[in-house]
Symmetry: C3
Subunit: 142 residues, 3 copies
């Protein structure tokens, strides 16, 4: 969990890591762009949705399968990401959290709203930061 | 539409462009400060509200007229801007998107809420980034 | 109130000040971590909640007492902070604003939602920015 002040980190990496968390949300909100979602994850990334009772995905193939199933059920998404906080930085690995206020409208007309904190581990793969682990916890009971 | 990783961009410009998108929202939320709104737009800016069925404004005079009509009808505004994503950067021009979760309370007691993505083109006018084109699209049907 | 363009400011300080405002929100959202809350405030900080009809706290002891009373009544918090805007910068002091969309669920089952602007003064205490004054105003009537 992030504390203040955040750990020392070059400003370019601080911004790149925030952009990475944002890029995940924006990719999901484009609905249908699975390659865009996978671009933010390292090939061996773990996406842990046990905070939602949805299990754990390991690696690109599992994440691809999840969104291949989920995107066709979505009519509209809005994942508002804010409150970026760097929690750890070690040159080529880092941990951070963001707050996300997420809305998802289903093709069946349903509307889901959640208020969560995403916890992100990231690694610098040649030149680019990628998510190696993503999990979430509820800020408010649903 | 933004993809990951974002295009290379000096960190000062990356932040200045996010601050520009924010400045538009903050100016609108001050209600009444038309000069503050115009300060974020280039003189020849196009503000395209066809995403809302509201037509296209071209240039400061048209934008001024729009807000001169709109501000007196507003009792309170909150445009929460997040998810900044750089889409293109060419030194003195750039494109980016932000998510906006907007609330507007009318002097008539009405409350409007929209979840949108703003698309912004910007140009570096002597020393300062200004919006040259702003448009929006719904993230969720209203 | 912030205007555009923002005052000149080294990029590291611009980001550190945004991280400071975020750190306050994140500390409050951790519920129970009073030391984490105090870490963002200078020892002589003033926290002015007259915008909520809640009076003014002066100094760490008063802020500690406030959260010692408030945290046990909270079941969940989500303070979404965005729209950072630098308003003044003078090397070792600065002023800025953020928008906050805040939700608080009480242990009694109540749910509070507010849309506010935080106004923050900050000072660079040896190496680290701390809040010296924090106040807020409603963006929308509750």
């Amino acid at each position: 969990m992030a504390v203040y002040p955040p750990p020392p980190c070059p400003i370019e990496d601080r911004i790149a890591l925030e952009d990475l968390a944002t890029a995940y949300c924006n990719a999901v909100d484009r609905i249908g762009d699975i390659d865009g979602v996978l671009a933010v994850f390292a090939p061996d990334a773990v996406y842990d949705l046990t905070g939602f009772g949805l299990g754990v995905m390991e690696g690109h193939a599992a994440i691809r399968a999840f969104y291949a199933g989920a995107f066709p059920t979505m009519a509209g998404n809005a994942h508002y990401a804010s409150n970026f906080a760097l929690a750890a930085f070690a040159g080529d690995t880092a941990s951070a959290s963001v707050h996300v206020h997420a809305f998802s409208k289903g093709t069946d007309g349903s509307l889901m709203e959640v208020k969560v904190r995403y916890l992100m581990d990231a690694r610098r793969d040649p030149g680019t930061w990628r998510i190696t682990r993503l999990s979430l916890e509820l800020l408010l009971p649903a």
